[in-house]
């Protein structure tokens, strides 16, 4: 805005409120245009990513539960197989021998030397203990009425639910029936609950997970890590058999359940949702962070661009108003010129009439008229002719021709201009020094436009020097074209303004348009030339116009 004249900048009319609405609309429109696609695309991608990740997590959990359940199933199947193998191979006679049974009991220990069985007993078909190895005194006990005994007699193999039994300690047994010459008998082993708990409690969740077994009635068959105890009633009731793994969301937890194959126990794994969906939450948080960051960036960009746009609009609007003022003035001047054109045409006609009349008088007084009259009539005629020529010149100046590239004599243009400005220069007592090169080469350029350029620059010089000043015009032919310099001894251009003198709308004069020199620059550049200015405050200004010999677009 530095190129807008100071007087104009002081205008009290404010443009900003006018553009407030534009600012609001642009911000809203740009924000909406940026955010709606961002939300739609980002939301869609987020939904797709979380769905895929959640599905993947749950599938992994499902696989882990199946593996866990299979491990328990396998343990029970292996233990059952151990008992079957021992009972089938050794036979009742051997097994009822205390040493043999103890040897078998020891051989059923695990590789780490820890037995998965607490005790081992041989029971006949009447429920009497034939042999027993273990920490309890159970040799005298009869199991004829025990539910597990009845069940094993029916099914050959039986794995019981956890019960207290004679020893009053929660446990469960694996019993295998064998039938030989001596009749049916049972080998029964009690599974070490601590050992078994160690297998079942391996939960998929590391921090918050819990895994346990419950029977069909929802009674705990192993010790849960939290919320219950062995043989206590769990929250699971009304259980129905199903295939595979069932996943449920309950109170911020995922419950994965699967029925064991060898025993009607439900393997339950509980994991906190926060833990299992940890990766998902990380993705969500990253997405939200990126979205917020992007939104802030977009919004800031929108604000910045809108501010720039509105600021540029304000500048343009001010310039337009300024130009409007100039245009009104120019239009007024143009119409005045048009009027003066008609006026001078009329004067020219009058002069023609005077000329005709003078000739007529000369013809009438051809004989007998005095020399005085003759001389006076001749003088009238020559004055009329001179006036007509001056008017013609003036009319040519105020009505420039079409922009045509022709042969142009710069010296002639300058002379015409000075002649045109003669009375103004005389009135102000301005001396004009002409330093023209003799036989200055003719150039090909636009005569009317060049006239305009020189007229602007010389008039600037005239207004700068005011009274009793001096203007120097110099023309020289150089290698690439003609150089014209217009110098004056006026106050010069202040240093801080020298770079702006050719800017449109820059003026230091209150009545100036700020367009004159800008137009000069534009014209000379279009004609393939250049224009520059040198000045020192107090020492006048020095305009250099360089024009090529041939028109160079």
């Amino acid at each position: 805005m530095s190129d807008v004249p100071a007087s104009f900048s002081k205008t009290k009319e404010k443009d900003y409120p006018y553009f407030r609405g534009v600012w609001n609309r642009v911000v809203v429109a740009l924000t909406a245009a940026s955010f709606i696609p961002l939300i739609l695309i980002g939301g869609g991608m987020y939904y797709y990513a979380t769905s895929a990740l959640k599905e993947k997590t749950l599938t992994t959990l499902r696989m882990q539960v199946i593996n866990h359940k299979d491990a328990i199933d396998q343990f029970l199947a292996e233990r059952t197989m151990d008992l079957k193998v021992v009972s089938a191979n050794l036979g009742l006679d051997s097994l009822i021998t205390p040493d043999v049974l103890e040897g078998v009991f020891l051989s059923l220990r695990s590789a780490e030397g820890r037995s998965c069985f607490t005790d081992l007993g041989i029971i006949d078909d009447q429920g009497r203990h034939l042999a027993y190895v273990g920490p309890y005194d159970l040799i005298s006990k009869n199991y004829k009425d025990a539910p597990w005994f009845k069940a094993v007699m029916e099914r050959d193999v039986y794995i019981s639910d956890v019960f207290s039994g004679f020893r009053r300690v929660p446990h469960f047994i694996i019993a295998v029936k064998q039938t030989g010459n001596e009749g049916a008998w049972i080998i029964r082993a009690t599974v070490d609950t601590v050992y078994f708990d160690g297998i079942t409690s391996q939960s998929p969740g590391k921090r918050s997970g819990d895994a346990f077994l419950i029977n069909r009635n929802g009674v705990f068959q192993t010790n849960p890590r939290m919320g219950g105890q062995l043989m206590g009633q769990s929250e699971f009731t009304g259980l129905e058999p199903f295939e595979g793994v069932k996943l449920e969301e309950r109170e911020g937890q995922i419950h994965a359940t699967a029925w064991l194959r060898n025993v009607p126990w439900l393997c339950v794994a509980k994991i906190d949702q926060d833990e299992i969906f940890d990766a998902l939450h990380r993705v969500r948080n990253t997405g939200i962070f990126v979205f917020i960051l992007g939104a802030i960036l977009i919004f800031l960009t929108v604000l910045l661009i809108t501010n720039q746009l509105v600021s540029s609009l304000e500048t343009k609007r001010r310039n337009i108003r300024f130009l409007n003022q100039q245009l009104r003035r120019t239009s007024y001047m143009a119409s005045s010129m048009e009027l003066s054109y008609g006026f001078f045409r009329e004067i020219k006609d009058n002069l023609a009439n005077i000329d005709v009349a003078t000739t007529w008088i000369q013809d009438l007084s051809l004989e007998g008229s005095s020399d005085e009259i003759e001389k006076s009539l001749d003088q009238i005629k020559s004055e009329v002719l001179r006036s007509r020529k001056s008017i013609d010149k003036f009319l040519r100046f105020i009505r420039p021709g079409h922009p045509v590239i022709t042969e142009v004599n710069i010296n002639e243009i300058l002379d015409d201009l000075l002649e045109f400005l003669g009375s103004e220069l005389d009135f102000k007592n301005i001396k004009v020094k002409r330093d023209y090169q003799d036989h200055l080469p003719i150039i090909r350029s636009d005569n009317s436009k060049l006239r305009q350029v020189f007229q602007n620059i010389v008039l600037n010089a005239v207004s700068a020097v005011e009274k009793d000043g001096e203007i120097r015009l110099k023309t020289r032919a150089e290698k690439n074209g003609v150089i014209v310099t217009v110098a004056d001894n006026g106050p010069g251009i202040p240093e801080e303004n020298i770079d702006q003198v050719f800017d449109p709308l820059f003026t230091t004069k209150p009545e100036g348009t700020g367009l004159g020199l800008s137009i000069c620059l534009n014209i000379t550049q279009k004609l393939g030339g250049s224009i520059s200015v040198k000045s020192e405050a107090g020492k006048g200004a020095f305009f250099i116009i360089q024009l090529p010999f041939q028109f160079k677009p």
């Binding site: 021709g401 079409h402 922009p403 045509v404 590239i405 022709t406 090909r444 636009d446 436009k449 279009k526 004609l527 028109f551 160079k552 677009p553």
Partner: protein, 437 residues
């Protein structure tokens, strides 16, 4: 309707070739001295408040070429006007108006010649570059010589300001056939006479197809022998451009473009040209004569035309073929008359052609047996009678009169005009033709 960008495109094209003119036109466009109409359907622009009509056909076929040419003509006129205004003494207004008009046309033609010269020079340079010194065979050298010849010919055209004139008494070798337009005004059918005057005339006519750049392109491509004009008293009245259509077992002469002043689609605001009758038939007659006197292996004359011209082509013997095609079977009507006049002016015609024309006229005479039922038929009948009279007047070829008289005698009772025509034959003398008592 034209848009400012169309004008700008045209000015840019001019600027590339002539920067000085381009500058002026650009400035005038910027100042609104060149503008497009605010409303209206016509294809025109305004140059210094004057309406400049753009040939619609050329604009849609050639793009900005007609706009460029209109701008150049107006620019030339403007500079001349300015030059005359700057003169101290008052001008002779009629003479000045003519000078201004000619200056515009000359500038445009000169510009187009310069453009053609630039293209020819470029082509010549390419030829020189592509032809290595060792390869300077016959063809390469000939091409370069042709280019050089063309360049000097075009330069000569630029300098030459002679008007286009043909001496009717002298036998000019450039004239192919002599005939008449407007019933009795002598005209010449000839190859396009390339000179400043002829090109300026074409520029002024602003015909469809035949703009100055097209004509210069024909010259540059060596196709100028296919371009013919109807010239009357130094004025071009119409042009025709021919091509040879060749396919397996087929060779046809195609009238690619034909345009006459009469068929000019101009603006009523434009200066009116004097309209001459029979120019189209004259041009087709010239083509027919070329066909018949040329190499014998050309099968037919054909052309593609718009529906609007259907009546004319059918009236002179063309038959419709395909959607917009026409083929010339047997000339009739004004075409036959024009052919007869040309044949009468050509003494050294081959016997076969004379016989063919005789056969055609015989058939046409036979048609007079049928009475005219309406005005159209009556008009056609009048044309046949006029053609018969041409035969009877023939001094060059008595065969025409013989055939006509024998047909008239044969169908004396059926042709009401036969007696009158035979009497006319006696009056004319009709050479040695046997006039029945």
């Amino acid at each position: 309707m034209l848009k400012r960008e169309n004008i700008k495109q045209a000015i840019d094209a001019i600027s590339e070739r002539a920067p000085e003119i381009g500058y002026s036109l650009n400035e005038m466009l910027g100042m609104g001295q060149i503008d497009v109409p605010a409303e209206g359907d016509g294809l025109y622009f305004l140059f210094d408040k004057q309406k400049v009509q753009v040939n619609k056909f050329l604009y849609f076929n050639e793009g900005t070429v007609p706009i460029e040419q209109g701008l150049l003509i107006k620019y030339g006129e403007m500079t001349k006007k300015q030059e005359l205004q700057n003169k101290d003494h008052p001008p002779n207004y009629m003479q000045a108006a003519m000078e201004i008009q000619k200056a515009g046309l000359r500038l445009m033609v000169t510009h187009e010649i310069d453009y053609a010269l630039t293209r020819l020079r470029k082509r010549s340079e390419t030829l020189e570059t592509n032809t290595r010194p060792t390869d300077y065979g016959h063809t390469g050298m000939e091409s370069i010589e042709t280019e050089t010849g063309l360049i000097s010919f075009l330069k000569k055209i630029k300098k030459n300001s002679l008007t286009l004139e043909i001496d009717p008494e002298e036998k000019d070798p450039s004239v192919s056939y002599r005939g008449v337009v407007d019933d009795d005004t002598p005209a010449h059918f000839m190859c396009f006479p390339f000179c400043m005057d002829s090109l300026m005339q074409v520029a002024d006519m602003n015909l469809e197809f035949f703009h100055v750049r097209f004509l210069l392109n024909c010259l540059a491509r060596g196709m100028e022998k296919n371009l013919f004009v109807c010239l009357m008293d130094g004025k071009i009245l119409g042009l025709v451009y021919l091509t040879l259509k060749e396919r397996t077992f087929y060779k046809g002469l195609e009238i690619k473009y034909i345009a006459t002043l009469r068929g000019k689609t101009g603006d009523p605001a434009e200066p009116a040209f004097q309209v001459h009758r029979g120019v189209g038939a004259f041009l087709v007659a010239g083509v027919w004569m070329l066909w018949k006197t040329g190499p014998g292996n050309v099968n037919e004359i054909s052309l593609d035309s718009e529906i609007g011209a259907r009546w004319f082509y059918e009236a002179v013997g063309f038959e419709s073929r395909g959607l917009s095609g026409y083929v010339l079977k047997a000339p009739k009507g004004y075409l036959l008359k024009a052919i007869l006049i040309m044949a009468n002016n050509c003494r050294d015609l081959r016997k076969s052609i004379i016989e063919e024309i005789g056969t055609i006229i015989g058939k046409q005479t036979k048609l007079l047996r049928k009475k005219a039922k309406n005005e159209k038929e009556q008009s056609a009948r009048s044309v046949v009678i006029a053609s018969i009279k041409e035969c009877l007047k023939s001094e060059a070829h008595l065969e025409f009169a013989k055939v006509t008289i024998s047909m008239l005698s044969k169908y004396k009772k059926k042709i009401p005009e036969s007696e009158e025509l035979i009497r006319f034959a006696s009056e004319q003398g009709s050479g040695n033709a046997k006039v029945p008592p």
